[in-house]
């Protein structure tokens, strides 16, 4: 274990196309990308580990720690490849997960198709027994019926069971009893209960969450077991931890019991990566921007902490439209994801407007310029035509790009329909995709009551550095950081994550009926749970505790989260809570309202180990200008025309060296475009700091 006295830590991110491996030996970083292996995901990890170990000149046995995040659970849901799962629920509520919100997420489409429920109706069973809103038992659980159910589903070859009863977040007794009975009669079946997976109010979201957990559990559990065994086989018998959607680390055992917590763990790593860069540079307000092949993700990071939420939606089926996916109610790093990546395809709609995505060219056939048979223009094609990419030096020269194919595709699909030449069509495509990302960022900021003008953007992912500077122009952002290793940002982020877990529970209380004892009991229970799970990985290290209440005026529908004071709520807890709530309400909406009671809907407690203190990086003064050996014509959207841009190799720059826009700074995985209005200076930690000319300190 360890190498030359230095800790060897590895982050592994399995994504849709690539499996990224980032190895840190002390402060030295090695990384690689291998293609994801769908049938045996662990194989890609082993291949990548061995490759990167060789690169670093160490043995796999020297590895001290592996931290793993994956989109596997997400993909199992999207592709519906999970276990044969039955759902047991309260009589009268068989169709909750199929009735959804009784709403159409697209108003004008007569041929709308709603997403199919995860568990089909013939696999949904009901049983008598009812808990009321206050937690009181209104009808006893029909235990004999639960036993019959268990025997029946075992005989029918089901592998996994989800149990979700109405109001179980207040009183889990019936769910817990049902689990006991099932274990007695069908001991081989894996059982997930909603009061444990997601004890939050709102049956559609909670039931769907427990169904998703049960659905992916056997597959993920078996994958994780194989991974640990095979890592040991190649000598890497070190501890393995998983990163969860909320951005903390949990043990493999916890992950195997609550695999729904692994959803979106890759993007969570990206947000942590951005948070770490932010901490190094002392930047308290960050817009994290990740753009890959098929989607772009945008997340707010304030005070070095990514913004979190209690629910999110996965597997959207209709152009990433809100409401067209499955709601999952677990703590998650909050981000907006839109169908805009380098591979997103452009077309012209019935309104003669250019539209981009969400359909993507993927890696096969890829954008037209890859010359692999793609004849539709992707964002990458437009970038190429506008000079942002060098056709002879893409992916370090591994993929040769054909500009003529991009021109042809842009003309055929966009230009000829709108009477534009290829350049103008390319401008249209890039501006549309940049505008849609900017719009997503703006809405996200507004939803959180933020003005983006004071934020710094941190961009990573293969396509982000090409678009980030223009996005800054659109959002009025004056500073942008492109960190080193941006191509494997999420995997690096895993190495910066704390051990931590957030427990959330629906527990209703009006402030006018504040009950200090009851609040202590709720928060105490949540704290015990989150500490237990965090200790599972973190051992005895000190934990930081954060408590939150989710509140609103009685009668409203949307809750505001408020962080509670560390020394607890005293006897005047009600007025403290009201004060905290109103301060946040004023920040978001301007004025508090008179004469209205406030209600708490949910409570949460997060326990997390302290993150290692980062070494602060001081801004580097400009020490010189990079010599310009080459220029090329690059389109500048703000100047509305092609400009002669400097082309610089990032590896030729040293700290303090500046490059004035318009410029393209080239590295193996990506190219950073600096627009005419901005200037880049390389920082001592390898980040490119791009600032608006004249706005520099």
């Amino acid at each position: 274990m360890s190498y030359a006295g230095k800790q060897v830590r590895v982050g592994v991110d399995i994504g849709g196309t690539f499996t990224d491996v980032a190895m840190e030996i002390g402060t030295e970083l090695h990384s690689t990308k291998v293609l994801t292996n769908y049938t045996a995901p662990e194989q890609a990890i082993l291949d990548g580990l061995q490759r990167v170990a060789k690169q670093a000149g160490i043995e796999t046995g020297d590895i001290d720690l592996v931290i793993h995040g994956t989109t596997l659970a997400t993909n199992v849901l999207i592709e519906r490849r999970g276990a044969k799962t039955a759902f047991l629920t309260t009589r009268g509520f068989r169709d909750v997960i199929e009735m959804r919100t009784e709403n159409r997420f697209e108003q004008y489409d007569l041929n709308i198709v709603l997403p199919a429920p995860l568990i089909a109706r013939d696999s949904r069973y009901v049983v008598a027994g009812r808990i009321g809103a206050s937690g009181r038992e209104l009808a006893p659980l029909d235990e004999a019926a639960v036993a019959r159910f268990a025997c029946d589903v075992a005989a029918k070859g089901y592998e996994s069971i989800a149990v979700g009863f109405v109001h179980s977040y207040v009183n889990p007794a019936h769910e817990e009893r049902a689990r006991e009975i099932i274990a007695e009669h069908a001991p081989d079946l894996s059982v997930s209960i909603s009061s444990e997976v997601s004890p939050q109010m709102r049956e559609f979201e909670r039931f769907n969450t427990v169904c998703a957990n049960a659905f992916v559990k056997p597959l993920i559990a078996s994958y994780l077991n194989r991974l640990v065994v095979r890592l040991a086989e190649i000598g890497a018998g070190c501890p393995v931890y998983m990163i969860h959607s909320g951005g903390g680390l949990i043990s493999v055992d916890t992950a195997a019991s609550f695999p729904v917590r692994l959803l979106e763990s890759g993007p969570a790593g990206g947000a942590i990566y951005a948070a770490d860069v932010a901490a190094r540079h002392g930047l308290r307000q960050i817009l994290s921007y990740d753009m890959g092949g098929t989607t772009a993700k945008i997340c707010l990071v304030e005070d070095f902490t990514p913004k979190t939420a209690r629910t999110f939606e996965v597997a959207r089926t209709y152009r990433f439209k809100k409401g067209s996916g499955m709601p999952i109610s677990i703590p998650v790093i909050e981000m907006v994801e839109i169908g805009a990546g380098g591979g997103s395809l452009a077309h012209v709609d019935g309104m003669r407007q250019i539209r981009v995505g969400p359909e993507s060219a993927g890696s096969e056939p890829g954008p037209a310029c890859y010359g692999r048979g793609g004849d539709k223009p992707a964002v990458t094609d437009a970038d190429l035509v506008l000079g942002k990419l060098d056709p002879d030096n893409f992916a370090g020269g591994d993929i040769k790009l054909t500009t003529q194919s991009s021109v042809d595709a842009l003309l055929a699909q966009v230009g000829q329909k709108l009477g534009m030449n290829a350049e103008k069509a390319a401008v249209g495509v890039v501006e549309v995709v940049d505008e849609s990302m900017a719009a997503a960022a703006r809405v996200h900021a507004v939803e959180n009551g933020k003005e983006l003008g004071d934020f710094t953007m941190i961009a990573y992912g293969g396509a982000a550095p090409l678009h980030a500077n223009r996005l800054c122009e659109k959002l009025g952002i004056n500073a942008l950081l492109i960190p080193p290793g941006a191509g494997v940002g999420s995997a690096i982020g895993f190495l910066r994550a704390p051990f931590g877990y957030e427990a959330v529970r629906g527990a209703y209380m009006k402030l006018s009926q504040y009950n200090a004892e009851w609040v202590d009991e709720v928060l105490g229970g949540l704290e015990a749970e989150s500490v237990r799970v965090a200790r599972d990985g973190a051992g005895d290290v000190p934990l930081e505790i954060e408590r939150k209440a989710y509140m609103r005026y009685v009668g409203q529908g949307w809750e505001i989260s408020v962080v509670l004071p560390n020394d607890g709520l005293g006897v005047d807890g009600a007025s403290q809570l009201r004060g905290l709530f109103e301060a946040e309400y004023i920040r978001l909406f301007g004025n508090p309202l008179e004469g209205l009671d406030v209600e708490v809907m949910n409570w949460s407690v997060k326990a997390a180990s302290r993150v290692a203190a980062v070494t602060r990086v001081d801004p580097v003064a400009k020490a010189g200008t990079a010599p310009v050996k080459q220029t090329r014509q690059i389109f500048d959207a703000k100047e509305v025309g092609y400009l002669a841009a400097s082309v610089i190799n990032r590896s030729d720059m040293s700290p303090g060296i500046a490059v004035s826009g318009p410029a393209a700074i080239v590295e193996r995985e990506t190219t950073t475009i600096v627009t005419a209005a901005y200037e880049a200076i390389l920082q001592s930690d390898g980040c490119l700091l791009i600032q608006k000319k004249g706005a520099m300190a």
């Binding site: 009268g92 509520f93 068989r94 169709d95 199929e98 009735m99 919100t101 009784e102 709403n103 159409r104 108003q107 004008y108 007569l110 041929n111 198709v113 109706r121 013939d122 009812r130 009321g132 809103a133 206050s134 937690g135 009181r136 109405v166 109001h167 109010m201 709102r202 049956e203 709609d349 019935g350 309104m351 003669r352 407007q353 250019i354 534009m420 103008k424 401008v427 249209g428 549309v432 505008e435 719009a439 809405v443 507004v446 939803e447 659109k474 009025g476 209703y508 005026y553 009668g555 409203q556 529908g557 949307w558 909406f589 004025n591 309202l593 008179e594 004469g595 209205l596 509305v640 025309g641």
Partner: protein, 553 residues
């Protein structure tokens, strides 16, 4: 800027304008108190040019406000007078005939000034918690009984709040704090829109919206007319009968389709009702426009130019053009049937587009729960009086290529609420809310299933409902040989039947049982693929016996 890039530039600005109004709508959803706004999206938001023509409208929201709000801003300018419009003003009304059809909807309009010059208007509409009177129900005989009526006036003048108006409102509505909260939320929503517009105009260096307006209108008009030109010109009629309050209502439409536009005339429709199911013309226009746009030009964003080719007329005093002081509180019931009526006419020239009839009108349940005198609450609970509003949807009609949607709202854009959340707001228990098996009309494509809802008061309580349910006597009809969906039923668990409309009591020891209608089928049932019938039986959408009967399998 070079002319070459102007088109792309305008497209970008148009998209931005749409996101400005979406943001405006979101603010409203987040801060509103009324259940139908925050849970169900019963709202709309839009931006207008300086003459009051709509440039863009949020897609968040329900179709009842489409067109209605588009026309409303012109009414404000006309009533107030152009010389009376100043920076810092905010205007208000809940006039059903100049707003969106009933007193519960308030429309706010705010002029947007840039450097002292009027550049446009923002408007938004939302359903508020209460307006006094009898409350939300169909039982009034005149609009005077339905609550307070605020004609078009200033809510704020040059930044100064109209405190007299607020004071009057405060003394005329229930839950006054929440209602005032809703009004402030409407004003804030327009203000957010204004701020975003100013940012946009700064970024794009615009002094006015005129050029952008011309671009939006020209493109929208051209795209809409292109769609209409492809239709076979002619006149197409349809009629449909629904339950009404005390007697059936006959709805009749004639569509005159030409390359210039589509005009819908409702001559032949029943006269006004003595009770609150009447519809002001502005609301008829809204749902008629929605039905036509869904079928004929769904992708074109709503604005003055894209809506202009769709026009509506109805004889004065008919139930779809009810005149003041007719009661109009539950105008949504008949309003929701207008798309079915219109789509029936559309099916004559676009047989592969129009779906079969559906349950269509929402089955909203307004519940007033009260403690029984001298009763005890269950241990750990307390006696309470509560007003509870629940949304429930029946099945939608089968489409030409797809089955109908089970328990999904159409044409309304609302969401249902969580049962757990509903039970936290009042002393009732929902014992059942699930699909109503066998209720979808048979056909090559099956109609959507309705649902069954069962509600009982908690210990120590009883409740009243304000019923506003339809399709109990007149089920949704199938199309092209498809059969009718099941009719709705309203009653108690002991078999007692209840009236589908009006205020009624549910005794403490009884359970209210609502069976919501299913959607009509499309095409001959004998043409339904075997595999689809088998799947329906496996999933329990229909029973084996019904499969035999309906499909002769």
């Amino acid at each position: 800027m070079s002319n070459d890039f102007i088109d792309v530039h305008f497209q970008i600005m148009w998209n931005r304008l749409i996101s400005v109004v979406e943001e405006q709508a979101l603010t409203l959803v987040r801060t509103a108190f009324s259940t139908s706004v925050r849970e169900a999206g019963d709202l709309s938001a839009g931006v207008f040019d300086s003459s009051g023509k709509m440039l863009a409208q949020a897609v968040t929201g329900t179709p009842g406000h489409v067109n209605a709000m588009a026309a409303a801003v012109g009414n404000f300018i006309e009533v107030l007078g152009e010389g009376n419009i100043h920076e810092g003003d905010v205007y208000i009304t809940n006039d059903p005939w100049k707003g969106t059809g009933h007193l519960l909807d308030f429309t706010f309009v705010t002029p947007s000034f840039r450097e002292g010059r009027l550049v446009g208007y923002f408007a938004c509409t939302a359903h508020v918690v209460d307006v006094g009177g009898r409350g939300f129900g169909p039982d009034a005989n005149e609009v005077y009984e339905e609550g307070i009526f605020i004609p078009i006036m200033k809510f704020a003048a040059r930044g100064k709040l109209n405190r007299d108006l607020i004071n009057i409102l405060r003394h005329n509505v229930r839950e006054a704090d929440q209602v005032i909260g809703d009004l402030h939320s409407l004003a804030a929503c327009n203000h957010i829109g204004h701020l975003r517009l100013m940012e946009m105009m700064t970024e794009f260096e615009l002094e006015s919206l005129d050029a952008l307006r011309d671009f939006i209108f020209e493109n929208s008009r051209a795209a809409t007319l292109e769609k209409l030109a492809a239709l076979p010109a002619g006149s197409y009629s349809n009629d449909m009968t629904v339950d009404g309050y005390d007697k059936p209502v006959h709805m009749k439409v004639r569509l005159d389709v030409s390359a210039k536009g589509v005009h819908a005339d409702f001559d032949g429709t029943s006269g006004q009702s003595a009770l609150g199911i009447n519809v002001p013309l502005i609301y008829t226009l809204a749902y008629c426009g929605y039905g036509l746009k869904c079928a004929l030009a769904p992708e074109i964003p709503n604005n003055h130019a894209s809506l202009e080719p769709f026009t509506v007329s109805a004889p004065e005093g008919c139930i779809l053009n009810a005149l003041h002081p007719a009661p109009v509180a539950v105008r949504h019931v008949l309003g929701h049937f207008i798309p079915d009526t219109v789509l029936g006419a559309v099916s004559q020239f676009l047989p592969d587009v129009a779906p079969a009839e559906g349950a269509s009108a929402l089955w909203n349940i307004q519940i007033s729960a009260r403690p029984i005198e001298g009763a005890q609450a269950a241990p750990g609970e307390r006696l309470q009086s509560s007003e509870i509003l629940m949304f429930n949807s029946g099945g939608s009609g089968a489409r030409p290529t797809l089955d109908g949607l089970n328990a999904t709202a159409f044409p309304s854009g609302v969401h249902a609420m969580s049962v757990e959340a509903t039970e936290q707001t009042g002393p009732i228990t929902v014992w059942r809310k699930e699909f109503r098996e066998g209720s979808g009309g048979a056909g090559r494509l099956r109609g959507g299933l309705g649902q069954v809802v069962e509600i009982k008061a908690n210990e120590g309580h009883e409740f009243w409902i304000k019923a506003m349910f339809d399709r109990v006597e007149n089920p949704a009809r199938g199309r092209q040989g498809g059969l009718c969906g099941a009719a709705g039923t309203v009653g108690l668990d002991d078999g007692t039947k209840m009236r589908p409309k009006g205020r009624q009591k549910v005794p403490a020891d009884r359970t209210l049982v609502l069976e919501l209608p299913g959607g009509g089928g499309f095409g001959n049932p004998s043409e339904r693929p075997e595999a689809d019938i088998r799947r329906d039986v496996t999933l329990g959408y229909i029973s084996p016996e019904q499969a035999k009967k309906d499909y002769e399998t």
